[in-house]
């Protein structure tokens, strides 16, 4: 267990090394700032479209560090060293999902507060957005890690990651944005989608890492 904690701590420290961890946050706030410029200053329109825009931003923010999640460790031999020590690929991937979520999920939830003000979301919508982000971002983290494992070692992995991950994120986006309107079933479906992603990603990513080793 302490080794698992060590894995998570190392990945978390690496995510924040050199200010890299603040990149998703800055990206998220930038989208929230630019969106009113693109849509115009109509408050009612902003309030209606803003929540969905923030969900899009959260999705892309989760995808930002995807090329740093697996590939550097595979190249440096860290994954080999962990495998030699008897760590299953699934455990390594689970630790990396947790570390990735910790590096952007809570920060996005904090950043959603000023972003909601910029987009004139009302208090009820903000509460639903925060609840949705709390439930949905672990799923996005799992999806990003799975994508990182599948594309590690490929040329042009960054562009490919987007093509691979974004379609799979559609359920999270639909139910996350759907919950903003106050539909009580949407949060439950969002939780189901996240559960599926979080439960499945370590195994898919683990298999990808084993294939990468050959």
């Amino acid at each position: 267990m302490s080794a698992f904690v060590a894995l998570v701590r190392r990945d978390l420290a690496r995510a924040f090394a050199g200010g890299g961890g603040l990149l998703p946050l800055a990206f998220f706030l930038l989208v929230a700032t630019l969106f009113p410029f693109a849509i115009g200053p109509d408050g009612a329109l902003l309030a209606r479209a803003g929540g969905g825009a923030l969900w899009m931003a959260a999705l892309l923010a989760a995808l930002l560090p995807v090329d740093r999640l697996i590939a550097p460790d595979a190249e440096a031999g860290v994954l080999d060293q962990l495998a030699v020590r008897g760590f299953s690929e699934e455990a390594v991937c689970a630790a990396k999902i947790l570390a990735h979520w910790l590096s952007f999920g809570p920060l996005l939830m904090i950043a959603a507060l000023p972003a909601a003000a910029l987009l004139r979301l009302d208090a009820a919508t903000l509460v639903r957005l925060e609840a949705g982000l709390a439930i949905g971002t672990p799923g996005l983290a799992a999806l990003a890690l799975g994508t990182a494992a599948l594309t590690a070692g490929l040329r042009g992995a960054g562009a490919l990651s987007g093509l691979l991950m974004l379609p799979l994120a559609v359920p999270v986006l639909i139910f996350g944005a759907g919950a903003l309107g106050g539909n009580p079933g949407a949060l439950k479906l969002l939780a189901a989608a996240t559960l599926l992603l979080v439960a499945g990603a370590p195994f898919a990513a683990g298999a990808a890492l084993r294939a990468l080793r050959d």
Partner: protein, 197 residues
């Protein structure tokens, strides 16, 4: 070192990379205190043999049995470039269930105790290799798998390496090394890989 006696056994192992058969019908066994030195021309499968021994590759045929913890030193250092050497080694020591004392012992045995505060990216090739060997010493694994451990090492470091291997074997450990240069383990079982017939 703890638990049952260390052991490594290859039974009629074959290695297939892509469609190329690198070697086949390889059998040997190593017990506590024993060592083997794998030699052969480039590309004959020395590194693959060590990866099979480490469990990173599956043999195409045959069986591999391991008893005891495994440690591998190969061409990758697996140390975080931006962290100080001491901290990077402490991470692996924690994973290996070892403490700061073992890290210091490893650094001292490889003669790099003065580099603990230096970021890994500042280290030279030879220093990085010595750091990987320091991790090996600190890790306390029974089974040492060394892929070209002498690469980039100066004469003094080579002596330190052979002293470390001798101490490891005296404590009941096993060494399986692949190298083109003499490593100071003249009593090791020779494993010469040649092209399959």
């Amino acid at each position: 070192m703890n638990g049952p006696a260390a052991r490594l056994r290859f039974e009629r192992v074959a290695c297939l990379r892509g469609t190329r058969l690198l070697f086949e019908d390889l059998s040997f066994a190593l017990g506590p205190g024993e060592a083997a030195l794998v030699t052969g021309p480039n590309g004959i499968g020395k590194s693959s043999l060590l990866r099979i021994a480490a469990g990173l590759l599956d043999p195409a045929a045959g069986t591999v049995e391991r008893d005891g913890g495994v440690a591998l030193v190969n061409e990758t250092a697996a140390l975080d470039p931006q962290r100080p050497l001491g901290a990077a080694l402490a991470y692996w020591a924690r994973i290996d269930g070892q403490g700061a004392a073992e890290v210091e012992r490893g650094l001292a045995e490889m003669g790099i105790e003065g580099l603990a505060e230096v970021p890994v990216r500042m280290l030279s090739t030879g220093q990085r290799k010595r750091a990987a060997l320091a991790r090996l010493i600190a890790g306390g694994a029974d089974l040492w798998l060394l892929d070209e451990p002498g690469n980039g090492l100066d004469a003094e470091s080579l002596d330190r390496l052979s002293a470390a291997m001798a101490a490891h074997r005296a404590g009941g450990g096993i060494v399986l090394a692949a190298s083109h240069q003499p490593l100071g383990i003249s009593d090791a079982m020779p494993l010469r890989l040649g092209p399959p017939r």
